[in-house]
C-alpha cells in the first residue's frame, strides 16, 4: 500500500511540476498578445506573416502571434473543435459564411456591429446590398467580408481554336455545341483525349459549391438556396442547372470517371474548368505554357442581364473567447486597409471585397500587370455568398446525392431531382429546428 501511495505521489508531483513550468497568460507581461489564424495555404501564410511582422513592428504593445489554421479536413471542423475546447484564436481570416451559423449558435463570435467604428469602416469598403447578404438571422454582423473568389469559367484557348470555337460559350446551347467539337479522340485509340469539362463524380457535398451552386446563382440572376430561412430552390432555374449537367454527361462531354495523374485542365485533357482566381497562380506555377481565357459561367438560353456567380467568400471574425476585443478589432482594421488588400492580391491573387477595386489608383498597377484578374474584379460585384443558414453542409449533401442521381447517372429527371432535394432540405431544416 505504501508503495502504491508513493507511486501516486510521484505521479501527482510530476504533473504539478509540469504545470508549474507553463507560462500563465495573465502573468507573462503587460503587453497584450493576440493569436491570429490565417488559412493554411502557402500564399496566405506568407501574406499573414508579412502583415504580422509589420503590425508587431508598429504596435509593440499589442503583439500578434500568427499560427496557420491547424491542418484538418476542413477549417470549419478545426474552428468548431476550437470553440468546443475553448482554444479559439482571437482573430481568424478564413471564415466561410456557410459555417457561421454553427459558430454563432455556440456563442463563439463577437458581433462587429457593436464595435464603435464598424459602420464607417464597412460601408466605405463593401457595397450595402452585398453587405446585407452577410447579416445573420439575429440581425448582427459576425463577419467582416474580406476576400472573394468568384467562380468563373476558365477555357483553354488552344483547344478551342483547334476546333474552330472562336468565342467562349455564353449559353448552355453554345456550351453543348462547343463541347461537341472539343470532346474527341485525337490519337484514334478509342479513348477520349480531350473533354469539354469534368467534375469529381463522387457525391461530396462541397463539390457542389463549384457546379450546381454557382450555376444556380448564374441561372437565377443572383438567388441563393434560402429565402427567409427556408429552402427556396424548388424552381425552374434549379431544373435548368441539373438539366445542363445531365446533358453534359449524357452527350459525353464530361467523363464519368476519376482522372488520374494530375489536374486534367493543366494536362490539357479538358477544355473548360469552373474555378476561382486561385487557379491563375496554379496555372502559372504548374503549366505556364497554357494559353487560357476567363469568362462568366454559361447560363440558360435566353438569359438576360448580368451573370452572377458564387463568390466563395472568406471573411474575418473575432472570437468571443478573446480577452482583448478592442485590440483584436484594431488588428482586423489593419488587415483590411487598401495597402494590405493590394498585398493580398499581389501575394495570393485573390480579390478583396471592396467596391473601389477598379477605380482606386492604388490597384491600377496591379491590374495593368495582371489583366486576367480584371475579369474577377468585375465579377466580384456580381458574386453571392452561401447562405448563413444552419445545416448547410447537410443540405448540400442532399443536393450532391440528387445531382449524382440525375446529372451523372441520368436515373432521375431534373424536375424530380430538384423536388427530392428540396423535400430533403425541408426535412433537414425541420429536424434541426
Amino acid at each position: 500500500m505504501r508503495l502504491f501511495v508513493a507511486t501516486c505521489g510521484i505521479i501527482l508531483f510530476s504533473i504539478s511540476g509540469c504545470s508549474q513550468e507553463r507560462p500563465s497568460i495573465g502573468q507573462a507581461s503587460d503587453a497584450v498578445e493576440l493569436t491570429y489564424w490565417p488559412a493554411p495555404n502557402a500564399q496566405e501564410v506568407q501574406l499573414a506573416d508579412s502583415l504580422v511582422r509589420v503590425w508587431n513592428r508598429l504596435h509593440p504593445e499589442v503583439r500578434v502571434r500568427m499560427q496557420p489554421i491547424p491542418v484538418s479536413q476542413s477549417t470549419e471542423e478545426v474552428l468548431l473543435a476550437a470553440i468546443a475546447g475553448n482554444t479559439t484564436p482571437d482573430v481568424c481570416s478564413n471564415i466561410w459564411p456557410g459555417a457561421l451559423h454553427d459558430y454563432t449558435r455556440a456563442g463563439g463570435l463577437i458581433p462587429f456591429d457593436r464595435l464603435a467604428d464598424f459602420d464607417s469602416i464597412i460601408t466605405s469598403r463593401v457595397p450595402r446590398d452585398l453587405l446585407e447578404t452577410f447579416r445573420s438571422t439575429d440581425g448582427h454582423y459576425y463577419q467582416l467580408p474580406w476576400k472573394t473568389n468568384p467562380v468563373m469559367m476558365f477555357y483553354n484557348e488552344r483547344l478551342f481554336r483547334e476546333v474552330g470555337v472562336a468565342t467562349p460559350p455564353r449559353t448552355y446551347s453554345e456550351y453543348y455545341e462547343a463541347g461537341g467539337k472539343v470532346t474527341r479522340d485525337i490519337d484514334g485509340d478509342g479513348r477520349i483525349d480531350v473533354w469539354m469539362g469534368e467534375r469529381d463524380i463522387r457525391p461530396i457535398w462541397w463539390q457542389r459549391l463549384f457546379d450546381f451552386f454557382p450555376f444556380y446563382i448564374a441561372a437565377s440572376g443572383g438567388k441563393t438556396l434560402f429565402k427567409n430561412g427556408e429552402p427556396s430552390f424548388n424552381d425552374a432555374d434549379a431544373v435548368d442547372v441539373l438539366g445542363f449537367f445531365r446533358e453534359c454527361y449524357g452527350r459525353g462531354l464530361f467523363p464519368r470517371t476519376f482522372f488520374q495523374g494530375g489536374d486534367p485542365f493543366l494536362l490539357e485533357k479538358k477544355a473548360t474548368n469552373f474555378s476561382g482566381p486561385w487557379e491563375v497562380a496554379h496555372i502559372q506555377k504548374f503549366a505556364p505554357h497554357i494559353k487560357y481565357g476567363i469568362a462568366p459561367l454559361p447560363v440558360p438560353d435566353g438569359h438576360t442581364g448580368q451573370v452572377y456567380t458564387s463568390g466563395d467568400f472568406k471573411n474575418i471574425s473575432i472570437f468571443a473567447n478573446t480577452k482583448h476585443p478592442r485590440e483584436a478589432w484594431e488588428f482586423v482594421k489593419f488587415l483590411v486597409t487598401a495597402q494590405h488588400d493590394l498585398l493580398l492580391m499581389e501575394i495570393c491573387d485573390q480579390v478583396p471585397v471592396r467596391s473601389d477595386l477598379l477605380n482606386n489608383p492604388l490597384f491600377a498597377d496591379y491590374f495593368r500587370r495582371k489583366p486576367v484578374m480584371v475579369k474577377f474584379a468585375e465579377q466580384a460585384v456580381y458574386s453571392r455568398a452561401v447562405d448563413s443558414a444552419p445545416d448547410l453542409k447537410e443540405i448540400f449533401d442532399a443536393i450532391a446525392q440528387e445531382y449524382e442521381m440525375c446529372a451523372i447517372y441520368g436515373r432521375k429527371s431534373p424536375e424530380q431531382a430538384v423536388r427530392d432535394a428540396t423535400d430533403r432540405a425541408q426535412f433537414i431544416v425541420e429536424w434541426n429546428k
Binding site: 473543435a81 449558435r105 470517371t257 476519376f258 495523374g261
Partner: protein, 296 residues
C-alpha cells in the same frame, strides 16, 4: 460503509503489485472504453453538435432512424459487402495458407509478401486501387482491353462498385487470415493424416474429413473477425467513391461518420452506432450457431 472498508481491506491483503501493474490498463479502459460507451448511450437521447449544450429529445433519434432511407441503404450495402467479402476472404486465405503450409521454396518470402498489404496504410492502398480501377485510364481496364475484353465500370456503376470495394478489401486483409489459417493447419496433429493415409483416404478426402473439421475453430475466428471488420468498412468507400455511385458503397460506418463529423449530429450518429452494434451482435451469434460444429 462497512462494505467499502471490506473491499479496501481485501485489496490491502492481496497482491499490491498486481493492482499496481493493472492500473494503467484500468485507467485506459475507463477513459477510452467505459466512458465513451456510457457517453454514447447518453447521446442516443440527445441532440448535440459538440459546441452547443446537449438537448434532451427522448426517442426522436430512433424515430428518425426508422424513417431514414439512407440507414436502410447503408445496412443493405454493408451486408452486400459482407456476402462478397467473407467467402472470398476465407477461400483465398485458406488456399494460400495451404500452399504456404506445403514445402514450397522461399516460403518465408511468400508469407512476408502476402502480409505486406496488411501493414501498408489503408489510405495509400486505396489510392493505389483507385488508379487501378479508373474506368478510362486504369491499369485493369487497359489489361482487359489488351486481351480484347470490354472495359469494366469498376467504381462508376452502382452494381460494380461494392464488389470492387470488396475485392480491394480482401486483397488488403487476406494476409492476417492466412496467418490464422496457417496456425490452425499447423495445430492439426500429423497422426490424423497418417492414420487416414493408412486407411487409404485420398488427399481430397483427408482435406474434406480432417482439415476442414479441424479448422472449424479458425474458420469461426476468421468469420467473426471478417464480419466485425466488414461492418467497420470505412476508408475504402470514403477515399474511393465517397459512398457513390448512387449510394451503392455508402457503408454503415461511412454514414455514421458523415452524420457525426460532417453534419454534427452526434446524437443521431450514436443511435446509428448503437443499432449497428446490435446488428453485428445478431449476425455474429447467427454465424456461430451455423458454423460451430464439433469435429467428428
Amino acid at each position: 460503509m462497512r462494505g467499502r472498508w471490506r473491499v479496501i481491506e481485501a485489496v490491502r491483503k492481496s497482491d499490491r503489485f498486481g493492482f499496481l501493474f493493472s492500473l494503467p490498463y484500468v485507467i485506459f479502459f475507463l477513459a477510452f472504453v467505459a466512458y465513451p460507451l456510457i457517453f454514447s448511450f447518453v447521446l442516443i437521447f440527445h441532440r448535440w453538435n459538440i459546441v452547443t449544450p446537449m438537448e434532451w429529445i427522448g426517442l426522436k433519434n430512433f424515430e428518425r432512424l426508422f424513417h431514414d432511407p439512407l440507414f436502410g441503404k447503408a445496412i443493405t450495402n454493408t451486408l452486400t459487402f459482407l456476402l462478397i467479402h467473407i467467402p472470398l476472404q476465407i477461400i483465398i486465405a485458406l488456399l494460400l495458407a495451404l500452399l504456404l503450409n506445403s514445402k514450397v521454396k522461399m516460403r518465408g518470402l511468400f508469407r512476408a509478401i502476402y502480409f505486406l498489404p496488411v501493414v501498408v496504410s489503408g489510405v495509400a492502398v486505396t489510392i493505389l486501387w483507385q488508379q487501378l480501377y479508373s474506368y478510362d485510364y486504369g491499369v485493369l481496364n487497359a489489361l482487359l482491353k489488351a486481351i480484347g475484353l470490354p472495359s469494366v465500370p469498376w467504381l462508376v456503376d452502382a452494381s460494380w462498385a461494392m464488389p470492387s470495394v470488396a475485392i480491394m478489401a480482401t486483397w488488403k486483409n487476406v494476409g492476417i487470415y492466412i496467418v490464422l489459417f496457417l496456425v490452425g493447419l499447423q495445430n492439426i496433429p500429423a497422426e490424423l493424416y497418417e492414420a487416414a493415409s493408412l486407411d487409404g483416404a485420398s488427399r481430397f478426402r483427408q482435406f474434406r474429413h480432417i482439415t476442414i473439421p479441424m479448422l472449424n475453430p479458425t474458420v469461426i475466428v476468421v468469420v467473426v473477425l471478417s464480419t466485425i471488420g466488414g461492418f467497420s468498412l470505412f476508408i475504402e468507400p470514403y477515399v474511393l467513391t465517397g459512398g457513390g455511385p448512387m449510394q451503392s458503397t455508402l457503408s454503415g460506418m461511412l454514414y455514421i461518420y458523415n452524420q457525426a463529423f460532417y453534419f454534427g449530429h452526434m446524437g443521431y450518429a450514436a443511435t446509428l452506432g448503437f443499432v449497428f452494434a446490435l446488428i453485428i451482435l445478431a449476425v455474429v451469434l447467427i454465424q456461430r450457431r451455423v458454423i460451430e460444429t464439433e469435429p467428428t
